[in-house]
């Protein structure tokens, strides 16, 4: 079965097409990691077209869609999730969501990505690659996160330890989605991992309009 994999949880958008065999083996046929910053909505569908063309496939050949659910900056994150949901809906395909951090690096590690506001999104994994802590969001200083770190190297100084550069990959997304892809009918609904509440506080008292 061919799988379309998408992620927009970090400033690098990812689109990939992979062949997944019945035994779970994964062969990536095409992949684009585009440093698109805040331009995910502009560049994601063109990247999907590109990977489909490179894989010699059309959406009609795709059997399932996998998307990262974050955590990640909200506006960009939603682009990947709604794109995956819409493509799956339009083509009648199953869609599977995974924690985006699960798709970064492998083995025993702590994944850190940029959560803005001087914080990191993080999750820790054991030697079998299973997530044992997180995902969560924290200020890196004094958080005493376990190493070794992979993810966004910009945080090395503030973590006080090296961070091996690594990003979300098609292989990582399919690995994280394996269980759900084996039984797509049982896949969980797509719920974004925001980890933070919307920034909004109700006004405690309304100021008279004339003084505003």
């Amino acid at each position: 079965m061919l799988v379309l994999a998408l992620d927009t949880a970090t400033p690098t958008l990812l689109a990939g097409v992979a062949r997944r065999s019945a035994d779970g083996a994964v062969e990536v046929l095409a992949e684009r990691a585009v440093p698109s910053g805040t331009r995910h909505a502009e560049l994601l569908t063109p990247a999907i077209r590109d990977v489909l063309a490179e894989a010699g496939a059309t959406l009609g050949d795709i059997g399932a869609v996998v998307t990262g659910l974050g955590p990640g900056p909200f506006t960009g994150l939603r682009v990947g999730i709604v794109t995956a949901a819409a493509i799956a809906d339009a083509r009648g395909l199953p869609v599977v969501g995974v924690c985006s951090l699960d798709a970064v690096g492998d083995g025993a590690r702590t994944v850190v990505t940029d959560a803005r506001r001087k914080e990191v999104y993080w999750a820790a994994y054991d030697a079998s690659g299973a997530r044992v802590q997180g995902p969560d969001v924290v200020r890196p200083e004094g958080a005493e996160l376990p190493g070794p770190f992979v993810g966004d190297p910009a945080f090395a100084a503030r973590l006080g330890a090296p961070v091996e550069a690594a990003e979300v990959t098609t292989t990582g997304l399919l690995r994280a989605a394996a269980g759900q892809l084996d039984d797509p009918a049982a896949a969980a609904p797509l719920v974004p991992l925001y980890l933070r509440r919307p920034d909004a506080t109700p006004p405690t008292s309304f100021k008279p309009v004339t003084t505003s």
């Binding site: 560049l43 939603r78 819409a86 809906d89």
Partner: protein
């Protein structure tokens, strides 16, 4: 041959709208709103609106398809609001629309939200006379537009220099202790009041003022001062008269400037659009003044005046019929998309 079926997406503010239009026939207009979640904040919170759009998107598409009795695979083109509006909110609809267009292998038309507010009238009253004048009054905009060709050429004659008309309704409602959004409760309260009871100021109506620009901030402040003075004096506030007199001031300025613009430009058709066009006094006064000036007035029903997906599909349908090229694959959202860009 049947006309093309167009699927329209609108997420510029707090309404998730998905509509289906064939030619100029409205097939469905599905809407989800996060309004109730914003009420306690006294205004729309962008992040709350964006989260709600994501949750509502696929179910709202399903409702639109079911209401219209069509399948997604019947869709011939997709249209989406690309701006103006709240960036985070716009991007949910934009990404969804791009994905549906890709997956259904049909062209994608990004459209201007304001032009869509004008286009929606074609679903009710047939092809727009061109040129027409359009008065667009909503929570975020107050604009007078000269429309030589709604598919390609929209000219802004004037706009608000401060608050939008709907914003003024919302703020005055707050002063009067009414819920958000304030347009409907003021409209209701005003029915029991006297519009000539209090002479509130008419902004930018002096001989040297820009003839087609609007200003509602001074009016809002004048209403607040008037109410606060009453309260300080321990006197009851005649809510119905305040509401009616405020509403009269807004309707007076809007209609006077719209009629003048028609006359100055030799245009004899006026279209109202946007949420404030649902206001009963604005509709009545526009009717009266247009009739006196020999102008044909067109106003969509209140349901189609506020944000919805059908208005976007209506403009998309018009662009398809006019042979306008679809948007580029790297189409993005533009929170301050200029009004003269009909199809970004």
């Amino acid at each position: 041959m049947t006309e093309p079926l167009v699927l329209g997406f609108e997420t510029s503010c707090d309404e998730t709208g998905v509509g289906l239009v064939r030619g100029r026939t409205l097939l469905s207009d599905a809407l989800a709103t996060s309004m109730a979640e914003h009420e306690r904040f006294g205004g729309v919170v962008p992040e709350i609106a964006s989260r709600a759009h994501l949750e509502a998107m696929v179910p709202t598409v399903h409702r639109a398809l079911a209401e219209a009795g069509v399948q997604a695979s019947d869709v011939d083109a997709v249209a989406v609001t690309a701006g103006p509006g709240l960036t985070g909110a716009l991007l949910v609809g934009l990404a969804a629309a791009k994905a549906y267009a890709l997956a259904l292998d049909v062209p994608l038309y990004g459209v201007n939200h304001l032009a869509a507010h004008v286009a929606v009238d074609e679903l009710q009253h047939g092809a727009l006379e061109e040129p027409s004048m359009a008065l667009l009054v909503s929570g975020g905009h107050s604009s007078l537009l000269l429309v030589p060709d709604l598919s390609r050429d929209v000219v802004s004659l004037g706009r608000t220099v401060d608050d939008a008309a709907g914003e003024a309704f919302d703020k005055v409602a707050r002063v009067l202790g009414m819920p958000f959004p304030g347009g409907p409760p003021i409209d209701r309260a005003a029915r029991e009041g006297d519009g000539s009871a209090i002479a509130f100021p008419r902004g930018l109506t002096g001989p040297r003022d820009a003839p087609y620009d609007f200003s509602f901030s001074g009016l809002k402040t004048a209403v607040a001062r008037w109410v606060e003075a009453r309260e300080r004096a321990g006197e009851p506030v005649p809510v119905a008269d305040v509401a009616a007199s405020f509403q009269e001031a807004v309707a007076d300025v809007l209609t006077a400037k719209a009629v003048r613009a028609c006359r100055d430009h030799g245009v004899d058709h006026l279209v109202l659009g946007g949420g404030v066009a649902a206001n009963s006094r604005l509709r009545a006064l526009a009717e009266e003044r247009c009739a006196a000036a020999g102008i044909v007035l067109r106003v969509p029903s209140p349901r189609l005046c506020t944000d919805n997906g059908a208005m976007v599909a209506a403009l998309g349908s018009r662009l398809v019929a006019a042979g306008v090229a679809p948007s580029a694959p790297d189409l993005g959202a533009d929170s301050s998309l200029p009004i003269d860009v009909v199809r970004p």
